[in-house]
Symmetry: C2
């Protein structure tokens, strides 16, 4: 049996990845949801993205939302950016932590940001320089780390090339993302074992979608392979544009249940995560796929 | 990384555990569903249960269904029984493979069959004798192997006591069941590793519910620990009476996806399992929780 880590950090991505393909909701509803998530005890949140408002209308209020984050001390907020210009906007809005996404597959990269992988990788240096000039940290998230909806399975070497470029440019953190929710435990273990020896002390996180039901199994495999940073969203909010109606991110409350039962400590309170999932469900106006939202915590006799 | 087995046998339990808490459906609808499941290539099916028709009205047509099973050669059908009398009825109806359920927790055992664990265990010998007299095989399924909705966590020694009794009485197969869908991978690995050294050549299966989202993670842990027999239902049909509205059995198609992606061979065709899940969905008249039913197979570019 693998040794599990004592503690896993959960980053809540409800407000960005969770809401991204939803219809826009008012800033007030986002702040109510943010408060419910903050009450879970979570220490890191992906608050929004500074990207094209026409491409992601739900996140067009990024600067307004950013202006409210000071009301939630004790949480480290991050924002996703897709270009040096986005990085500048995020920093101007007060963010201290950026995520820059690079797709390891050309097909997804072009569809997502209009650049191929090499072009997107070439911007890492600029973004790190802009951020570090303002004492802001940068995480490079490697999207389509296992599969691309256009290009099929991603050759691991394409992931490693981004890892190498990111390390060379001094990024603060790395993450691998199963953007379309297709990976499974064995492939997770293999990729983590390939990356870990190459990144020294740089923290490595992982981001899974439950699109094909294997999200928690993959998360457990990641944790068993030594990953101590996982993304999740309350209620499992967050669909996949390539699989309409499918499950979204792994649900925070389901992940907390699994990790707690495995003896792994997390900062997030399970019952409060279920409460926040209910707030999310009301905010978007449709059922969310989380299991705990229906079943509740384990019944203890 | 654990070594995975080359092949895993999936037993489809849609018609029994899947339908058990649904409203009764006509025999003709069951036969249509059976045909769709048979078309997946699955080699074993739990067809029905010979239990009290008043307690499980959906399965009151057990004998009528059994009379149709000869139309599906190549599939080994089994039926669940809860008493020597049930075993006799099943054999009289033509079944060649029985499952006898013993709950490892007194609370669940009393609620389920009106006997405590010791009383239910004491019947194993009678049931094996009745079955073997007719060259019929018996599997003992240990219910609430991890948790009981009344008694809380199940002490592993209670499971091992049933295992010992079952082996002493010469049962043909054993299985451990997460009846209320609360276990997680670490506890699965631990229990399998505790049982395996004590059962010699007797095959050990596992039965998981996805009630708290960890069903596939637990199934993967079981397979990683050497289990090569898993139960599943198409669409993930099969609710839990203790968690209304929650997910049911692990979905056959989600399990097939996970195992295929792990390099483990199964007899079940993924697309045909999704087709069968659609038939199940129509038969019961409500949405089923399977992920693949929504997302479909992985998109390969």
């Amino acid at each position: 049996m693998s040794e599990l880590p004592d503690h896993v950090d959960i980053r809540d991505v409800t407000l960005r990845d969770g809401l991204q393909i939803e219809n826009p909701i008012p800033l007030s509803a986002k702040l109510e949801l943010l408060a419910a998530i903050a009450a879970t005890g979570v220490r890191e949140m992906e608050a929004t993205a500074f990207v094209s408002p026409s491409k992601v209308p739900t996140l067009a209020d990024a600067a307004e939302l950013a202006a409210e984050l000071h009301n939630f001390p004790g949480i480290e907020f991050s924002a996703l950016v897709a270009s040096p210009n986005g990085a500048k906007r995020a920093i101007a809005a007060g963010l201290r932590s950026l995520e820059y996404v690079v797709s390891a597959a050309d097909g997804h990269s072009r569809a997502n940001v209009g650049r191929d992988t090499a072009e997107a990788t070439a911007l890492i240096g600029d973004i790190v320089a802009i951020a570090h000039d303002s004492d802001v940290t940068v995480e490079v998230i490697i999207a389509t780390a296992w599969d691309c909806p256009f290009d099929g399975p991603t050759p691991p070497q394409r992931v490693l090339d981004i890892v190498t470029a990111a390390c060379d440019h001094g990024v603060d953190r790395l993450a691998i993302a199963d953007t379309i929710g297709t990976t499974t435990p064995r492939r997770v273990t293999e990729l983590v074992e390939l990356i870990k020896p190459r990144i020294g002390d740089i923290p490595l996180g992982a981001h899974f979608h439950n699109t094909r039901g294997a999200g928690l199994a993959s998360a457990y495999a990641a944790v068993s392979a030594g990953i101590t940073r996982l993304d999740a969203s309350v209620g499992g909010l967050g669909g996949c544009p390539f699989a309409p109606g499918a499950s979204g991110n792994i649900a925070t409350e389901d992940l907390v249940y699994l990790l707690r039962d495995s003896g792994v400590h997390v900062d997030v309170d399970l019952q409060k995560a279920i409460d926040a999932a209910r707030v999310a469900q009301r905010a978007v106006g449709h059922e969310l796929p989380s299991a705990l939202l229906r079943a509740g915590d384990r019944i203890l006799g």
